[in-house]
Symmetry: C2
Subunit: 430 residues, 2 copies
């Protein structure tokens, strides 16, 4: 873990290094993925069966065995303990309510020239959700990826999840059911992405693919981009906690570790104007690590990427945070709304001393799929906007065309696009 | 040009072939582009000077010569003939008004559990606009790319345009001035994209790069994606015209040619229930080609990619159009709004017999940067949304956490993320 102090002479150098720190090592799997995609395009279902046998340690008897039946999904749901079912239900309802509130309005305006201009939002016809398999199969991710699609009005939501050795987490199926997923396939890797993008006899193609995955899945999404839409490729997760003296150091410490326990590449940064809190949190992190089940991962993340930045005041904290543009931002200060007003770049913010990021990861309502690695400068979290697209439209009659058409003729001719100009001039009687 | 008829037995086969038709040949320039980007990252301004000398046939005396001064921009503007200045002004004002109307509202909601949830839109700090040089330097594209950024509230808008042999279109500079571009550089190709993404001593980095370009520019945008945001890579342009019997065939013919004159890869498709109109339009296209300055390009596009599809009725026209998901769609029918209601997938629609696409290309107001090649199934035209990002936020006090926190604890434990669960439980007194 690094200690930085904005009053130190080498602060700028060290902070710039923190900003540039590469936390991700990308495996080069381009050629392997291109081969898998070509195989799925050429051989369809037969390729899916073969690739599943090769990579997932089970052999589907045929392509129909890839589909998880409605009965299997119901049976899995029935096995969920009541407290988990209640928690899933609360999460699904709250996520749905927030994402429905995001739904934008259409636009229609008639202007002085007599043209009517409009913009209409429409849902995608079909989307694919990729869900990692095995231990990384998180039901909360199923909710966060699929519910915005349903709220947007997408009719067909296909989900692919690898089942290494046949293992499939029943909570994932229960989440899929609550999230409105219409089809579930036991299928993973680049072959799942290829099947969703290009379609096979048993899996109809979709228009957009979202969801996290390993290096093969990420590369496959890159390669099918253009054929279908994709979400951005997520990097390792991160949190910035801005905390003043009025906090319990243990709370801050566990919040930092909640980020660090994701994986060794995760990053947790405390920014505080209070040197005593900084010291107390550093000690509390070590204390908490003693009892944390995922201590090995969290300790490695904290050691390699963690940082405590001592600042002069909260204005300075906000300025540094804008340079970090973190995925998650906790504002554990007396006046969190005033501090939020100074933040320009963050994926999601959590305000107050009783609002740890984990609330947002599971049940608050806003999405937990967020821009990582400083991309919050230009990118946003997953939302209904990922599953909607816009059609703009213009309506003009002869009078409206007479008002604006001559300018179009001038510009068309200026650009040397004579047919453009003529398409207007002809209607103006020219 | 292909003639298709939905009543013909081979219609489905031929329409499917039309859908799958590849109109683009992509040059493989990956390695060359990677080399250019590495050079710009390593040598900064010196690389920009060398690469410009190599590719653009002029040698900047140093990096400061890349910047177009405010005086040069004003001088170029002063040389614009009055009719073109008036047309540019009208276009800029109308585009700005429409894009300002797109600006979305923030969201804030307090729920029954006592949490306050919000979503806040914010502008990007800085964006880069790439503008192709030479003859393809279109002032309308400058307006369409830069004005949405200004309407969104972006403070810094840098524009790069190559000046092969020193040539720079004064209309492009005049458009940049009206669009709120804050910096103009005589710089093109992958080196311009690299400079905007990574920054050099003389060009500060931006957060997102938009605008069309050749294969090198497109590949460079792909390679810097993640470091900065990019817009989608545009393919060849296309139009579908749905026209009933009540149209002047010459109008339809020129509209089809306005698309075809862009380049040989453009595609123009007429869909009509009227065989007589189909025949008359086909004849009128040949007639119009005789006098069109860009006839060679337009004829080649029409011959290779053009199509006339005879349909039973307008319902069928709408269904086929949804499969084509065209970039541009003209609805030259008696009741265009009713037909628009049946269209799910199109980048931009033009309603009525007096609304040729060229009106939208220049002066109507909506953007002319639109999804091509069937990507309107999932993608949208350029808009203020390309220059905004969202921060979601959650505010909770102890009572709100008590209402939703236990569910977060259950889900955190179910996912094996103990520190997540503990960050909530600790605050609940657990």
């Amino acid at each position: 873990m690094k200690h930085l102090d904005t009053t130190a002479p080498d602060f700028e150098t060290r902070f710039a290094a923190l900003l540039d720190e590469a936390r991700e090592t990308t495996a080069r799997v381009d050629a392997a993925v291109a081969g898998i995609i070509a195989d799925v395009r050429a051989r369809g279902d037969a390729a899916l069966v073969d690739l599943t046998a090769r990579f997932d340690a089970w052999t589907p008897r045929d392509a129909s065995a890839l589909r998880v039946s409605a009965e299997e999904i119901e049976a899995a749901d029935a096995r969920i303990p009541p407290d988990r079912r209640a928690a899933l239900n609360m999460a699904a309802e709250r996520i749905e309510a927030f994402h429905r509130a995001q739904l934008p309005a259409d636009l229609e305006m008639k202007d002085a020239a007599g043209l009517t201009l409009g913009m209409r939002w429409g849902a995608l016809d079909a989307v694919g959700i990729y869900v990692p398999g095995g231990k990384a199969a998180y039901p909360s991710s199923v909710l966060m990826n699929a519910i915005p699609a349903r709220a947007a009005g997408v009719g067909r939501i296909a989900m692919c999840v690898p089942t290494p050795g046949g293992e499939l987490n029943p909570l994932v199926l229960a989440a899929a059911r609550r999230a409105g997923v219409t089809e579930v396939y036991r299928l993973g890797g680049a072959q799942a992405v290829a099947a969703m993008a290009w379609g096979t006899a048993s899996i109809a193609p979709v228009d957009r693919i979202v969801g996290p995955g390993n290096a093969y899945v990420a590369e496959a999404k890159r390669q099918v981009f253009g054929r279908v839409g994709i979400d951005s490729i997520a990097g390792p997760s991160e949190v910035v906690v801005i905390a003043d003296a009025g906090n319990d150091p243990r709370h801050v410490a566990v919040d930092l570790l909640a980020q660090a326990e994701h994986d060794e590449s995760a990053q947790s940064i405390l920014v505080t104007p209070d040197a005593a809190l900084a010291a107390a949190v550093a000690a509390a992190v070590e204390e908490e690590l003693r009892s944390l089940p995922r201590a090995a991962i969290a300790a490695e993340s904290w050691r390699r990427h963690g940082a405590i930045v001592l600042v002069r005041d909260l204005d300075e904290a906000a300025a540094l945070t804008n340079r970090l543009a973190p995925e998650h931002l906790q504002l554990m200060v007396e006046q969190p709304r005033a501090l939020l007003a100074q933040i320009r770049h963050a994926g999601a913010a959590f305000l107050g001393r009783f609002c740890p990021e984990a609330v947002g990861d599971y049940v608050a309502g806003p999405n937990h799929v967020l821009p990582t690695g400083r991309t919050a400068r230009f990118a946003s979290g997953l939302s209904v906007f990922d599953f909607l697209k816009r059609t703009t439209w213009v309506e003009a009659d002869a009078a409206a065309l007479a008002a604006v058409g001559p300018a179009a003729v001038v510009l068309g001719e200026a650009e040397g696009l004579t047919a453009h100009a003529r398409s207007v001039a002809l209607r103006l009687g020219g």
